[in-house]
């Protein structure tokens, strides 16, 4: 039997669904974007063009949901099997958009530059997980007007894994698609096997910003996958109950799905959320407490209720250093969503709530994700795993270490850590010599020996730069 967790009963799921639908009718969502308002109108929503507010009735939501696929296929450029986002599958990814990096050598914070982003993309490329790469950081050494496009360029040049890109507006969204199409050969090849998804962050409470609307419209037109996230802060940008935060996060997502599915009924959508709390001591967002995974399980259950692929934050930490708190937060916020079968758990490499990225944290998160994956598999009880022949072979009083049975089973049954310190306490040696951070550094060097840049046409960088500059 496998481990699974839930926080909502069927009755509670129905209550949240009903409240979300009522919220969309009785309050509605502000959509400050003319084209989007017209699309909502076309879909059958009640649109107040002067106040730029839409109210979506139930049947329109139902129509949008009926057009959704229960499984989204995310491809890579290496020709491997696609990630099947849906059902009980769980994948882990990076996340960031952080502008600070915890320097790997000096252990101090500084601003992210393009080389840092390149390094973290390359490490993400060789580690498994991450299974996909959500743009992990925002470099500060390029003009902010084009930073999103530079990020996409660095992703295209340094990894073949599926990635989730960000774009500042509709124009940049089109450019991002053009850049990916250039690497794919043409747009049709990209559409046939989309190796990137577009990230959309909704604004709480109940606003679909113009840039977010443009991203949804442009990406839907191209038929490429959308990873849409709602991220209300309980007590700040949503009411101070976790349940009403779920009601609103869900309503915002359903509303955005109506827009996407009206533009293109076949656009692949992932229902993702960062619903979280506002920390009342520091007046900032918190992702490391118990509420975060509770909300993640909640949003995942809502996605499953609608039969949608799910995603959201996990393996996250508020701590500012690689410390005890990091381990506690990363495992707690990773394990619980994974046990709820959130299909895309994003958070690897990030710390200091959402403000910093770290190679070390990414390596530790790789270990955390491996630990979680093993826990998720539970205990396999079959005729084979309970067979008595090995007991008879060894008999009472001896050990099983040298048996063929052990050789055949230990790798599947046991999680073999890469950087967790295990083993004897050697008192005559420095007990901290094998500490996780030191082992992470060794592991980093070992992993990077395996890195290979994607093979690309020589002039690809020039072509991508041309698209960026146009």
């Amino acid at each position: 039997m496998e481990l699974k967790v839930k926080v909502l009963s069927d009755r509670e799921i129905a209550m949240i669904d009903q409240a979300s639908r009522a919220l969309l009718m009785e309050v509605g969502v502000d959509v400050p974007h003319r084209e989007a308002l017209e699309i909502f109108k076309r879909a059958g929503a009640m649109v107040d063009f002067s106040r730029q507010r839409v109210r979506v009735p139930e049947h329109v939501i139902n129509e949008a949901l009926a057009k959704c696929a229960s499984c989204v296929r995310l491809y890579d450029r290496a020709g491997g099997p696609p990630l099947l986002i849906g059902g009980d599958r769980v994948y882990f990814g990076t996340v960031g958009i952080a502008t600070n990096v915890l320097d790997y050598e000096k252990d101090t914070y500084r601003q992210v530059v393009c080389d840092d982003l390149r390094d973290i993309i390359r490490l993400s490329d060789v580690l498994n997980p991450p299974d996909f790469i959500l743009i992990p950081a925002t470099p500060t050494d390029v003009p902010s007007k084009i930073v999103d496009l530079i990020e996409t360029k660095l992703l295209l040049l340094n990894t073949k894994k599926h990635f989730i890109a960000e774009a500042q507006n509709g124009k940049h969204c089109r450019k991002t698609i053009a850049m990916a199409a250039e690497v794919a050969g043409n747009l049709e090849a990209l559409q046939a096997k989309p190796f990137f998804s577009m990230l959309v962050c909704l604004t709480s409470p109940l606003v679909l910003r113009d840039d977010a609307a443009e991203l949804i419209i442009e990406t839907a037109k191209a038929g490429l996958p959308l990873f849409i996230e709602s991220g209300p802060m309980c007590g700040g940008t949503s009411p101070a109950t976790l349940a009403s935060t779920l009601v609103m996060a869900n309503a915002e997502l359903l509303n955005s799905f109506v827009l996407a599915k009206t533009v293109n009924p076949s656009v692949p959508l992932v229902y993702a959320s960062w619903a979280r709390i506002l920390d009342m001591k520091s007046a900032t967002v918190s992702h490391g407490g118990p509420e975060f995974p509770l909300l993640r399980i909640g949003t995942t259950q809502m996605a499953k209720y609608y039969g949608l692929p799910s995603g959201g934050g996990g393996i996250l930490a508020d701590t500012k250093s690689i410390d005890v708190q990091l381990g506690m937060e990363k495992l707690g916020t990773g394990l619980l969503p994974a046990l709820a079968e959130t299909n895309m758990v994003v958070g690897m490499g990030l710390l200091a709530d959402e403000n910093a990225i770290s190679l070390e944290a990414l390596l530790i998160d790789h270990e955390v994700a491996g630990w979680i994956r093993r826990a998720m598999r539970g205990i396999e009880v079959t005729d084979g795993t309970t067979d008595l022949s090995v007991f008879k072979q060894v008999g009472p009083g001896a050990d099983f270490v040298g048996t063929q049975h052990t050789r055949e089973n230990f790798r599947r049954e046991m999680f073999i850590p890469k950087i967790m310190d295990r083993g004897y306490l050697a008192l005559h040696k420095d007990p901290k010599a094998k500490a996780m951070r030191n082992r992470a550094k060794e592991f980093y060097r070992k992993m990077m020996e395996q890195y290979k840049s994607p093979e690309l046409p020589r002039d690809i960088e020039t072509k991508l730069d041309k698209i960026i500059e146009e």
Binding site: A398, D399, V401, G402, R407, F410, I416, G423, K429
Partner: protein, 216 residues
């Protein structure tokens, strides 16, 4: 063919835990006239050392280490009758090994015994929770050059001291070297109780045995 052309694939096969392949290269090497002692010292022992290094580097795991050591031990046993009279596998010495009285931990001690055996020691494994008088009697009977004592509990590590003192009183201590090991045991403890050597794990135990015995 040069000796290395037999020995290198033999070493490779030990790392890969392929007994049949090891045996194939041993018999072909013997047929080509390679000295059995060279097969042991430059083939089997080197292969096992490489396995030990890979284990220390976490490239291979316990079941693989045990399997490779078992292969080397078995192949070495089969080679013994072929050694010339003056060559002697006992050249590294007879080693008594056991977990001290009151302590039933077996796995680590057995691993050390296996690796010592595969490294050319004549190992007599006395088992676990071995009474001190048994160790002393066996020491008198077998005249080992090395005794290795395992203890996994802070309560039973005291017994390591007791064994050494009893061996001294029985007058057999000065003719042999003593190694101690086990998770609560430290280098400092080994010195305190008058042991000759200490190792923190099974791979290091072989190197430590070689060091105290003054053999390669």
């Amino acid at each position: 063919m040069k000796a290395e052309e037999y020995l290198n694939p033999m070493i490779e096969a030990i790392v890969k835990e392929e007994e049949e392949v090891v045996r194939k290269w041993v018999s072909e090497g013997l047929a080509a006239g390679i000295d059995p002692m060279a097969i042991i010292n430059q083939g089997l022992t080197v292969g096992l050392r490489r396995v030990g290094d890979l284990f220390a580097d976490e490239e291979i795991f316990l079941p693989g280490l045990v399997m490779s050591a078992q292969i080397v031990t078995r192949v070495m046993e089969d080679l013994k009758p072929r050694l010339k009279a003056e060559q002697n596998l006992r050249s590294k010495g007879v080693c008594l090994i056991g977990t001290v009285y009151g302590d039933i931990h077996d796995i680590g001690k057995s691993l050390v015994a296996l690796l010592l055996s595969a490294s050319g020691y004549e190992v007599v494994d006395l088992g676990k929770s071995v009474p001190t008088e048994t160790i002393v009697a066996k020491a008198k009977e077998l005249k080992p050059q090395l005794i290795a004592l395992s203890a996994l509990l802070t309560t039973t590590m005291q017994e390591q001291r007791n064994v050494i003192e009893t061996l001294e009183r029985a007058g057999v201590r000065k003719n042999l070297k003593i190694l101690v090991g086990g998770s609560p045991v430290s280098k400092g403890w080994a010195e305190e109780i008058g042991a000759d050597g200490y190792a923190e794990d099974a791979v290091a135990a072989v190197a430590e045995a070689n060091r105290v015995m003054g053999v390669g």
